[in-house]
Structure formats: structure tokens, C-alpha cells
């Protein structure tokens, strides 16, 4: 195992070798631009030198009665009222792989960006990630007035960091701004919204193009933060650099690009001032440096502590490692028919017997031992607490039966062709798991050509030309905690990577997408999972675990969606 760990570490460090090579080529070429030798001869010859429990939800509505605004929105741009970072206050520093590319939520949907945005901006609804239940947040209540209209009653007395009142105009402006600009990176995520209108200063109607059962998931997901409209419009008109102004627990203070982002406690936060006075997100891309920063006390929190560093972090005074479950499922995707960028494909995995044999050949117990127990076996990507998850699939090892796999292969159309197996090195142990699976598949008589590549190459070769061949492996998340996204690639018109055609599954997925009855919808997704397990366009492996390294002075419980919302975190 030590060898595996060492290899894994080396692999992660060199996974971007291609990028380094490209950069080296560029720099080499640069050397050539250096310039010629001077015209005059030199007098001497120049020698040639060679995220554990749910985020606590307030039990009381903290906003006191505040008079309703008499006008929808003030016309002047209020100056920020939040005090700058208090020197000597309680500071918590989070070590990040990278920071945001933009502090404007609709323009950056990366996980790291979401972590930062969600501490500055509040959304209308908060999703309790442990139960997948929704709690009113900036909205006090919501209701479905008809199958396509959602009415939100907004919380009164909430102000943005700059003193602007939060009201219906802020919500309308935030969403209309995205819907009017298809270059916003999160634009495709919001196209299900047809219209957003203010009914009165504290009531907003969202009209969707069709019944939208995942409305609450989507409206509490990435990029949902409500922004200050007056300041936002003024910034847009002046062309000034965007400054994030939300209603969240922390207000923006300072951003040194690629170095750190500093937020300060919002003293007027509607749920009470956070305990942390200064929240600093520091970019430390190299994992060894991040761990060293944690050990040295420069950083209070980091995620993704490599297993080989756990002992060192736990042995260090004042730091410890905590395991947590992610929402990311490692899976094998098997191509079943020509589609996407592989219209002339005809491979062995088009035969259901071969796909079943692949599923039976995989020993999930061994895989989880290989990864030091950092996973929970699953036969579905719909895992608790997501609607439609079931004990029938979750925390199940599934059938491991190599003999039956061999029998199925003997009965199948498989004639010893080579199956191409693509994987990336995006996640810890991914290469080792791919190698173990290759050995398991070879053991039952399949010929496998394993191609391991860095994550960028993987996306470029497998995903977006859709040139995946027989097998690819990836870990896919579900931070929306709604089943729709887990089966999206089996919808009609979305089969560019799987080619899997199953009329029953297609009908169920289409119906579930607009089914407003959660119970019936859950049953539909349950049946879809059964069909996937019967026909194996996907073979699910395990739900991944990760680990955060934490200073003992920080009181913080990881959210099951692994988002670092620090509003209720405390520093000793």
C-alpha cells in the first residue's frame, strides 16, 4: 500500500505533465527570442556552457419587524456600511487549491468559487444537506400557486452589506440579469425559469417553462446568491470592477488575485453576527504546501488531506483530520451504441451480456480496501439524502461473481476484441482503482487497453468530443441533491456518451422531470435505477470519502455537500 500511496502522490504531482511540457516548449521558444550577440567582439572567448453534520438551521426567524420599504429601490448607491477587517479580531484561514476567477456568482460555478460566494451571498432557500429538506432563508415562505408558478414571500428587514434593502427588486434584478445574458457561465442552469416578477415589494413569482419538481434544488444551488441591485446597476454602468455585495454572513473586504480573499463579519447579519471576524481564503495550489501550512498554523482548514499525511496532521499539536462523505460517485460508463463523436463505433459493450459480465467481474470490497476504506459501495449515483435513493442500491457491494462473468462472456458475442478503458487522475487512487479493475476484467477473459490521462486531456478526449469508447471511469457529484442530474445523460437527446436506449427508462426520466408528486417521482427514479442495474450502461462503484484537516481552534462541521459555509463556525 505504501508503494501505491507513493505512486499516487507522484502521479498527482505529474498529472499535469502535458501542461508543463507545453509551458516548457513555450519558454524554450522564448529563449530563442533572447537576442543576438553584440556586434563588437568580446575580449575573452565566451565559454559555451553546456464537509460531518448538517449546517445548523436557525430555529427562529431572527428578523425583527422592520417597516416595509416605501419605494422599491433607492436610487443612490449606498456606501458599504460593513466595517473593514478588524485588526486583532478572530481570524480563520482556509487553504484552497485555487480562488475564484470572478466574485460575481453567475460567472464562476467552480466549487471553490461557490464556497466563497455562499459566504457573501444568501439564497432564497437553504437546503439542509443532511436531509435534503429545504428551509426558507431570504424567503420566509414559498408555495406553488400552480404547476408552473412559485411564489416566494421575502424576509423583511434584511439589508445588503452596503445598506441597500433586500426586497423583490433585488431578486428580480438578480435573476433577470442572468436570464438576459447567455454568456454567463451559469446561464444554462437557469433557463428553466421563464419569468421572474415582483408581485409587491416582498413577494416574487417565478414562472417556469414547465412543471419543475427540482425547483427548490436548483434555486438553492450554485450561483443562487441574491445581489444588491442598485450597486450592481451602478457598477455595470460605470464599468468599474465588480464588487460583491450580498446579504450573507461575511462582507467582501480584499482580494489579492491568486493570493487571498479576505471577508469580514457582517455585523448586521440577519441571523446574528458570525463569530469569525475575518475569514480568509488563501490559495495554496500545491497540496504538500497546504498540509505544511496547516501544520505550521498558517491555515485553519483545508480539504483533501492525502491519506499519507493523516498521521502527521493528527500527531501535530493542535491539528487533526476528519473524514467526511462526499456526494461524488465513482462509476464506469459503458458505451452501448454509436452516438456523439463515435457514430461509427461498434464495440463489444454493445452486447448486454458483455456489460453484465463487466459488472459481475468487479469486486467492490477489494476496491474499497485498496483505497483504505475511503468509500461506501453503491449501485447507484442517487445516494442519500437525495430523493429516490434506496437501501437496495446504497451501501451495497453488489454481486461479484467472476465465474458467472466468464460464462456470460462465453455466451456473448465477445470474440477477444480489446476494450478501450479511459480514466483520468483527477481523484486520489483513481489510477490504482482503474488498474485493479483492469486486472479484474482481464481475469474473466476481457482484453483491456487502459488509458490513463490527466483531467484536462480526459475531458478533451472523452467528454466533449464524446469520443469515449467502450469504458470510461469518472467520479461525478450531485451537489444539487436532486436525482434529475444523475440520469440526465440517459434522457432522449442526451445520449451522446452512452447511446443507451431503453424506452421505459426514457419515459420514466421524462415523466419524473415534470412530476410534482415527490413520492411518485421517487418511485420513477427507483425504477430507472433498477433498469440501469439490469442493462449496465453505468456500473457504479462507490461513494467517495474525503478528509479535511482542521485546526483545533476552529469549530466547524463539514456539510454533506462539502460546501464551506462558515456563518456558524467558531474560533476559540
Amino acid at each position: 500500500m505504501a508503494t501505491l500511496l507513493g505512486r499516487s502522490r507522484r502521479l498527482n504531482r505529474w498529472s499535469n505533465a502535458r501542461s508543463l511540457l507545453l509551458l516548457s516548449l513555450i519558454l524554450f521558444t522564448l529563449g530563442a527570442c533572447g537576442g543576438a550577440a553584440p556586434a563588437a567582439p568580446a575580449p575573452t572567448a565566451v565559454p559555451v556552457v553546456a464537509d460531518a453534520t448538517a449546517v445548523p438551521v436557525p430555529t427562529t426567524a431572527p428578523a425583527p419587524t422592520v417597516p416595509a420599504p416605501t419605494e422599491a429601490v433607492a436610487t443612490a448607491v449606498p456606501e458599504p456600511t460593513t466595517a473593514p477587517a478588524a485588526e486583532g479580531g478572530k481570524t480563520a484561514t482556509i487553504g484552497m487549491v485555487e480562488l475564484v476567477t470572478s466574485l460575481d456568482p453567475p460567472t464562476d460555478w467552480a466549487i471553490a468559487a461557490t464556497w466563497i460566494h455562499m459566504n457573501i451571498f444568501d439564497c432564497l432557500v437553504w437546503r439542509d444537506r443532511a436531509t435534503a429538506e429545504f428551509t426558507p432563508w431570504l424567503a420566509e415562505s414559498y408555495e406553488n400557486t400552480n404547476s408552473t408558478t412559485w411564489r416566494f414571500k421575502l424576509r423583511q428587514g434584511v439589508t445588503f452589506h452596503n445598506g441597500e434593502p433586500f426586497n423583490a427588486d433585488a431578486v428580480v434584478w438578480t435573476y433577470q440579469r442572468i436570464l438576459a445574458d447567455d454568456t454567463m457561465i451559469t446561464y444554462p442552469q437557469w433557463t428553466f425559469i421563464k419569468e421572474v416578477t415582483a408581485v409587491d415589494p416582498y413577494t416574487v413569482d417565478f414562472v417556469t417553462a414547465q412543471p419543475e419538481p427540482a425547483m427548490m434544488s436548483k434555486i438553492s444551488g450554485t450561483g443562487c446568491g441574491i445581489q444588491a441591485p442598485v450597486a450592481g446597476k451602478a457598477q455595470k454602468e460605470s464599468g468599474a470592477e465588480y464588487k460583491p455585495i450580498g446579504t450573507g454572513p461575511f462582507a467582501f473586504s480584499e482580494w489579492v488575485k491568486d493570493d487571498y480573499i479576505k471577508l469580514v463579519a457582517n455585523a448586521n447579519y440577519w441571523q446574528g453576527k458570525p463569530d469569525i471576524d475575518n475569514l480568509v481564503f488563501r490559495a495554496i495550489p500545491e497540496v504538500s504546501t497546504r498540509v505544511a501550512s496547516l501544520l505550521a498554523g498558517d491555515v485553519d482548514l483545508m480539504v483533501g488531506v492525502p491519506k499519507q499525511d493523516w498521521e502527521r496532521v493528527n500527531a501535530n499539536e493542535g491539528t487533526s483530520v476528519e473524514e467526511y462523505l462526499t456526494n461524488r460517485t465513482l462509476l464506469l460508463a459503458l458505451r452501448t451504441a454509436p452516438s456523439g463523436g463515435m457514430l461509427d463505433w461498434s464495440g463489444p459493450t454493445s452486447d448486454p451480456l458483455v456489460r453484465e459480465a463487466i459488472s459481475l467481474a468487479i469486486d467492490r470490497k477489494t476496491l474499497i480496501e485498496l483505497i483504505d476504506g475511503l468509500g461506501i459501495p453503491t449501485l447507484s449515483r442517487i445516494t442519500p439524502p437525495t430523493l429516490g435513493s434506496s437501501d437496495k442500491f446504497y451501501n451495497q457491494f453488489g454481486e461479484y461473481n467472476p465465474d458467472k462473468a466468464r460464462e456470460l462472456l462465453a455466451k456473448s458475442s465477445y470474440k477477444g476484441e480489446t476494450l478501450t478503458f479511459h480514466t483520468s487522475t483527477a481523484f486520489l487512487y483513481q489510477k490504482e482503482v482503474a488498474e485493479a479493475i483492469t486486472a479484474m476484467l482481464q481475469d474473466v477473459g476481457l482484453k483491456i487497453d487502459l488509458q490513463v490521462m490527466d483531467v484536462t486531456s480526459f475531458r478533451e478526449k472523452v467528454y466533449f468530443p464524446n469520443k469515449n469508447q467502450e469504458i470510461y471511469m469518472d467520479a461525478l457529484g450531485n451537489s444539487f441533491f436532486d436525482p434529475w442530474i444523475t440520469v440526465k445523460e440517459f434522457e432522449v437527446g442526451q445520449k451522446q456518451r452512452s447511446g443507451w436506449v431503453n424506452p421505459e427508462a426514457e419515459k420514466l426520466i421524462a415523466e419524473a422531470a415534470v412530476n410534482m408528486d415527490p413520492k411518485a417521482r421517487a418511485a420513477q427514479y427507483l425504477r430507472v435505477q433498477e433498469l440501469i442495474n439490469e442493462e449496465n450502461p453505468h456500473v457504479y462503484l462507490y461513494l467517495m470519502k474525503d478528509a479535511m484537516g482542521k485546526s483545533d481552534r476552529l469549530e466547524f462541521a463539514m456539510n454533506p455537500d462539502n460546501f464551506l459555509w462558515m456563518g456558524f463556525a467558531k474560533v476559540k
Binding site: 519558454l27 529563449g31 575573452t44 476567477t101 447567455d182 489579492v256
Partner: protein, 307 residues
């Protein structure tokens, strides 16, 4: 001199065009930039929307010519990652890289000149052998590894120095030392061999015969004449230094250009790579120009005066 400088600048233009073409081909042959802009679950329609929004749906030659046309008027285009003009992104990180590089060069010089001199003066002695071995070791250690070792020793064990990011001068010590140690051995070895050669020259023998103090002989007569090859190599090391800065900035989370370009190469953000490489090229050119001009200071026989 102005004609010489103008000629050098003019000669840079075709080099930059060639470089831009190589960059464009490498980046586009390397992969599809849209792959890094959409989620894995993105539908063909979403992908098409993003592709069209960034102009990646147009023919490659058209994309290249548009990009070159913009560069000619100083517009390097917008970063697909940051959604903002590329050049300001690079320029705002330039001071950090320059700061790191200048301090690294100073550290390299502080190491290379005394070690090179001592090695040359005590040629083949135990001290020379020890210093030569140390230089070889310094050259052999990869920046990445050396950086991590320095972090573990001075940041984690001794806790004398900050590990990453910016702050005050102390934040510069570890990254600049890592980078400086990378180039010091080459300079040391060069200075040693150059000094050994010069110390055997007749004018040095004459200086000694005249009864000049050894310090004067070494520093005024020998060292000065050894500096032309030394400075030449120092200029050439600038390109190496910038390459090394990419790794060192990554390890020490130093917010410079190198890190920006490295990430931009990873996600095929061509505009930022082009702008960054343009600035790198200018730095290399200016460094080499300064080296060439310094020859006139070091040796009065060299002149760049316009005829």
C-alpha cells in the same frame, strides 16, 4: 546605440509572430477549450452556446487571424477563465514575478560570486572540491523538491519563515532562495572556470609582478575580465529563471505570472497565455539587451555608438 536598440526591438516582432503561431497551434491541437468551460453533464445545446459565445465555432485560421489582428492594436482578447481582458490579468501579476526573480538573482549572485572566486583561487583544494560538489548538488536538486524541503525545515519544523503567499519580506525568503539556488551553480561553475583562465593571463602575472595587492589583482584585474561570460550566461538564465518561477510560484503559492500562465495552459486559456508569453518575451529581450549593453561598461573596447 539607439539604432542598435531599435534593431533589437524590430527583430523581436517576427519572433513574437512566430511564437504566437506556435502557441496557437499547440494550444488548439492540445484540446478543446470548451471542455473546461462546461459541466460534464452539459447538453450539446449548452456546449454549442458556450462555443459560439467565445467564438470557438469559427474556423481555426479565422480565429488565429482575428487574434493577431487584435494583438496588433494591443488587444490580447479576453480570458475565457476570468471573463476579462487578458493583458491586465498578466500585468497585475507581473510585479510579484519580477520581485521574486530579482531577489532570486541577488541570492544567486551572493552565492555564485564568492563561491566561484574561492573555488578558482583555491583550485583543486579540498575546499574547491567541496564547493564544486555542493554546486553540482544544488544544480541536481529539482526546484519542486528543494522548495518542499525548505518549507518543511524552515516553515514547519523551525517555524522561522512563512510558508506561502505574500506579506512582508520574509515571505520572499523561501521562494527566492529556492529559485536562486537553482541558477547559482551554473554561475558558480562559469565564474570559476573563467577566473582560472584569466588568472593565468600574462597581464595578471604582470600585475602581481608589479607588486599589486592580491585583492586588487583578483577583484580589479581578474574578476572584471571574467565577468563578460558571466554576465552573458546570467542574461541567458533569465529565461530559465522565468521557467523556474512557474514551479516555484506554484509550490509557494506566490501570486505571480508563472502561476497564472501555468493554470491558463491547463485550461487552454489562449488569450492569457499569449499575453503572458508576450510579457515573458519582453523581459527576456530586455534582460539580454541589458547584458549586451553592460559589455560596454565591462570592457571599454566594446562600443554601441551609432556611426
Amino acid at each position: 546605440m539607439s539604432r542598435y536598440i531599435t534593431t533589437r526591438i524590430v527583430l523581436l516582432i517576427p519572433s513574437l509572430f512566430g511564437l504566437s503561431l506556435i502557441l496557437f497551434i499547440l494550444m488548439r491541437v492540445g484540446g478543446d477549450p470548451v471542455a473546461n468551460l462546461v459541466r460534464p453533464e452539459a447538453s450539446p445545446e449548452e456546449i454549442a452556446t458556450v462555443r459560439a459565445a467565445y467564438g470557438f465555432d469559427r474556423p481555426l485560421h479565422e480565429q488565429y487571424l482575428t487574434s493577431i489582428g487584435r494583438i496588433m492594436v494591443g488587444d490580447f482578447g479576453d480570458s475565457v477563465r476570468f471573463r476579462s481582458p487578458a493583458m491586465p490579468l498578466v500585468v497585475e501579476r507581473l510585479p510579484a514575478t519580477l520581485q521574486l526573480s530579482v531577489v532570486a538573482i541577488m541570492i544567486a549572485l551572493l552565492l555564485a560570486i564568492p563561491i566561484g572566486l574561492i573555488s578558482a583561487l583555491y583550485q583543486n583544494s579540498a575546499l574547491d572540491v567541496t564547493l564544486t560538489l555542493s554546486s553540482t548538488l544544488g544544480r541536481a536538486m529539482p526546484n519542486f523538491w528543494l522548495g518542499i524541503m525548505l518549507i518543511l525545515l524552515f516553515g514547519v519544523q523551525l517555524r522561522w519563515l512563512p510558508i506561502s503567499g505574500t506579506g512582508d519580506w520574509s515571505n520572499l525568503v523561501l521562494p527566492a532562495t529556492t529559485l536562486g539556488i537553482g541558477i547559482a551553480p551554473t554561475l558558480t561553475r562559469l565564474l570559476r572556470s573563467s577566473m582560472i583562465e584569466v588568472l593565468r593571463r600574462e597581464y595578471v602575472v604582470t600585475a602581481r609582478a608589479k607588486g599589486l595587492k592580491e585583492r586588487v589583482v583578483v577583484l580589479r584585474h581578474a574578476l572584471r575580465n571574467s565577468l563578460i561570460p558571466f554576465v552573458t550566461i546570467l542574461g541567458l538564465q533569465v529565461a530559465w529563471l522565468l521557467g523556474g518561477a512557474v514551479i516555484v510560484e506554484e509550490v509557494f503559492a506566490w501570486p505571480g505570472m508563472g502561476r497564472l500562465i501555468y493554470r491558463s495552459v491547463q485550461v487552454r486559456d489562449l488569450a492569457v497565455v499569449q499575453a503572458g508569453v508576450f510579457i515573458f518575451a519582453l523581459i527576456v529581450m530586455v534582460a539580454n539587451l541589458l547584458v549586451d549593453l553592460s559589455y560596454a561598461l565591462l570592457d571599454p573596447r566594446i562600443s554601441y555608438r551609432d556611426k
